[in-house]
């Protein structure tokens, strides 16, 4: 490790550093589920089924909600650092709403697919699709819970200082959840179009 990289790593506080390594681990976990999806796409031709039942446009719209929440949580952090508590809480709330809208989108897509008898046990497409997106949704849900805890604490005036390790750590997690979705969306949905 050269000294520059060393000081960079050491300048992070414990919580963010732990989150960074946790996300490295989580990223590897998702990589294996994504590789499995891609693998079955090529050897078992699941792309045909994906193209038939998925709606990239609709999910694309929900994707925009999720990705903008990465921007809003970044704004929330900025405002906290500037000391504007009202704006901090506001952006936090917007982030939670955007994430919840995405989750609602996922839920309605699952219901729609279920109505067409596309399930996890029907075929290998369903198996790999629901496992991958299901685990992602689980991560979004956990992120929403964490953000809500932060929001409630913020309402109680917990983050009076301009720096909070908890806020930064949860924000880091939330960015991860968003950017993993970029890969998943590309592999599952954009692949049906291109």
């Amino acid at each position: 490790m050269n000294t520059e990289a060393q000081t960079l790593v050491e300048s992070w506080d414990n919580n963010r550093l732990a989150m960074l390594f946790f996300l490295l681990s989580e990223g590897t976990f998702f990589a294996f589920l994504i590789i499995a999806y891609v693998y079955y796409h090529s050897v078992s031709n699941t792309g045909v089924m994906a193209a038939k039942v998925l709606d990239p446009l609709k999910t694309g719209v929900y994707t925009i909600f999720l990705l903008s929440s990465s921007f809003t949580v970044w704004r929330a952090e900025k405002c906290l650092r500037r000391g504007s508590q009202r704006a901090f809480k506001g952006w936090l709330l917007v982030t939670i709403v955007l994430g919840a809208v995405f989750l609602f989108g996922q839920g309605s897509e699952y219901l729609h697919l279920y109505g067409q008898d596309v399930t996890i046990s029907r075929d290998i497409f369903g198996t790999s699709f629901f496992t991958l997106t299901g685990f992602h949704s689980l991560h979004v849900l956990l992120g929403l819970i964490a953000l809500s805890v932060i929001f409630v604490l913020a309402l109680q005036g917990e983050f009076a200082q301009q720096h909070s390790s908890a806020v930064e750590t949860v924000a880091l997690y939330w960015h991860f959840v968003d950017w993993v979705w970029v890969v998943i969306f590309s592999v599952i949905y954009l692949w049906t179009v291109f």
Partner: protein
Amino acid sequence: MSDIPFPGTGEALPLETQQEETAGLLGWVSSVDHKRIGIMYLLAALIYFGAGGIEALLMRIQLAKPVNSFLSPGAFDQIFTMHGTTMIFLVAMPVLTGLANYLIPLMIGASDVAFPRLNALSLWLLVFGGVLLYFSFIAGGAPAAGWFNYAPLSEKAYSTTQGVDYYSLGLLITGIGSVVAAINLIVTIIKYRAPGLTIKRLPLFVWMVLVTQILIILALPALNASLVMILIDRTLNAHFFQAVSGGSAVLWQHYFWAFGHPEVYIVILPAFGMISEVIPVFSRKPIYGYEYVAASTVAIGVLSFLVWAHHMFAVGLGHSVDSMFAISSLLIAVPTGVKIFNWIATMWHGSIRFTTAMLFATGFLVVFTIGGLSGVSLAIFPVDWQVTDTYYLVAHLHYVLFGGTVFGIFAGLYYWFPKMSGRMLDEKLGKWHFWTMLIGFNMTFFVMHLLGLMGMTRRVYTYPNYPGWGMLNMISTIGAVVMGISSLIFIWNIVVSLRQGEPAGDNPWEAWSLEWATTSPPPVHNFDRIPPIRSRRPLWDLAHPENPDWKNEH
């Protein structure tokens, strides 16, 4: 920072560092102190070691003579599956995590790990994950598809009991515990080093634990993903590994070994680290080629992710794939060989003290090298095709995992037990332990090379009465019994020494790393004072002010 006085200068402690631990069982199970958690890891591993050892003996009794009927085929399958799973996940990993837990904060001059409560969480995840795995015995039958749980055998159609479900859930829980512990240790090593303890001065055990934890956070997710997929297949009737409905059983093998091979290094690297601490101290010389030992660890860590398909030579992946993995597997022998030569060069011209710890370290060098050489032969895939799934492989893996990891752990336990308990382990019993273990080990496993070359297949509950097979198997079984007795001597040694062992003092081995600068056992807060760290051997510098290491460094 370098003028912090050495412990024992008589100054009173600041009040906030004078804390007491709760006594009794409650004090232990509710503890978040890294030393107590480390010891509880070791105790849990010892109990599981007993279970895994009994399973090994049951197998050896069944195989003692041809066409034996001591165990039914079904019971034999459960026993060998549980033996492998137990020894890897509930013994090797927790012993190493336990020792790392106990030692890392002490070796880097910290008062605890970065996240003490998370530390307790990882311990209890391990304990209860193991309990869940063993619960399968009374819940209809233990898993019986081997420790690597190959699909489609592990699918519902072929493994009809809930054994594989317990296997998956149990290992998911212990796996999460491992990742949590790894993150904790990484942050601790990055953030909690004492002033002056730069990355180039870290004790080699700390170096190797650090690389191991990085392997854990990158390799365990492969296992966790596989376990999740097989669970979904089994409980939700999905199709990941079912070839009939478009799934792929070979993918299980790829995923499992993408975890499984780094795992081999996860359980051997910390043992390398212990050997790297023990050999210099008992040769009275600094380690030869510190940088090379550290760098070869990183090389092993990187290469360990590129060799997984050498477990799959018999699958038929094609010549070019097999060749690639043969080359990478041969390559990984190089950094391992570098270490062996460093250790030998450290011993060369040293004034060696053959304590029990040093005996185990020396024994490690010999038996691990034999295991390494049979590993090199297995990397040549035509050889692998000939001996795949025979006892030759069983011999190889036990030479590296028992001869390597377990001998390394014994070396480490004899070395650090005085620090943990304040008392020395008995050297006479220790020597009995070492020699019976060495003889029993080689009796048990050396003959397996021959049996394997003669074509005896592993994982079959019995064998026909071919010439010589009965005798060789009987030798192996007797060796296993000797190892069992040897283990009892070790446990007896612990029990006796805890009560009436010789008091250890702070630094019984005249060692040089920071853990020996505090009392044995250390106080809750570990250190009253930390000696100045201006080289890799701070306690040497302290004891030899006329000739400190830092004067000789360039």
